[in-house]
Symmetry: C3
Subunit: 175 residues, 3 copies
């Protein structure tokens, strides 16, 4: 049985930076069974279309797909195995869902950290860097980028590898 | 006759990051005849002023200037020669113009890709990275950053060198 | 008496990127007396809370704190010594204050450049990269990011080290 070294990888990037495609290549290179955890919810037609585009781009090359908008740490705990790679796409949509449903953000982040530390498999996280523009007028948007930034720091500190992707090109920040 | 190795260079950066000045230095270092392709249109006084500032900063040190808001691939095909370097400033303004006039974006991007692959000269592209802030409220702005991101990936995959510029400092992503 | 090599360090990053914590570590590593120059003003409750969080995170491990929203160059001139490190957090809030009070931005930037060139101590500047999102609708926001970008280029050109921080991880751009 082929296995992976356990631990987390973080792939950060902007909108349409090619971060998902890069993360999929990282996952495929492990050579083990691939599980995809989609955190996005199809709130409206535009979101539905974006999810569909991701699905089409990813193709059906052996991915097992899970939809998990909220209970991400639990889903990782239940799904991860030493002969599997998990791709979580993406952390920022998970943060959005937690905020919209009024969950305890800090508790959820701590649960995710615990899941990363104890996972027997490999977990590749994709997330949007959203903090490099002008301070948003909207208070909820400011809170969102604060949460996202804190989560990225937390995951990056536990990850074995961190990449920043721009124009489809990965820049290794850690590992 | 001094000539250049053919191919494209992509210089990405944020607003006022020094990306244009860096691209101008790259172009000047080739030592061949320099042609500047400006894609920006002076829609209003502010834009006119920004274009004027760029022109003043660039100076008149031997640049031949072309204004080309839409037919960029054709202009590259017509202008490029093995003893010339072209500086295109910038791709994001070209995308803006294509969108505002209702052009077929995908066809235009494919034409640009073909121009890059076949060019006998060196072409340095400047573009704004716009995908690292909060998701914009405005649908057209979201479409714009999707188009820009896809174009950056496409050009970067064909380019021999890609740079990310921040605070006037280039970071080599490829090449 | 322990002293530092004189000069400036620039730490750029997005919102909640971990840039302040990284800059504090850089300052602490010098082993000399630490002075903190806070440029932020507590305009409202949210800002007051953010300033308080920074203060709590920094702790009281031997920092001497100065509040200086406007006369930053003068304060650096008055405070810097060869046996001290100054941490300025942050340049973007200083630019905001200059704009809101109608100061001469160019003159202020030149004064800061002069302070950097002549300082006998080490000065670590923290600043927000704000130019990597969509062009803001608001004219003042566009002017702000132009000013911030120019200031970053100016400080980076004089600095001995420049870092870009994302997800708590520093990327060395210069030095």
């Amino acid at each position: 049985m082929k296995t992976v070294s356990p631990g987390a990888v973080l792939v950060l990037g902007g909108a349409r930076s090619g971060k998902s495609a890069f993360a999929e290549r990282l996952a495929a290179e492990t050579g083990v069974s691939k599980h995809y955890i989609a955190t996005g919810r199809a709130w409206d037609d535009e979101m539905r279309e974006r999810i569909e585009q991701h699905r089409a781009q990813r193709g059906s090359h052996g991915w097992v797909t899970h939809e998990e908008p909220l209970a991400l740490p639990e889903r990782i705990n239940d799904t991860a195995r030493k002969d599997r790679v998990l791709l979580v796409d993406c952390l920022t949509l998970w943060v959005t869902n937690l905020m919209l449903e009024g969950h305890d953000i800090k508790a959820a982040f701590d649960d995710l950290a615990a899941a990363i530390v104890t996972t027997p498999g490999r977990v590749v996280f994709v997330s949007n860097e959203v903090g490099l523009g002008i301070v948003p007028d909207n208070k909820m948007a400011r809170e969102f980028r604060d949460h996202a930034g804190r989560l990225h720091q937390q995951v990056a500190s536990l990850a074995t590898e961190v990449y920043f992707v721009a124009a489809g090109l990965p820049l290794k920040m850690k590992g």
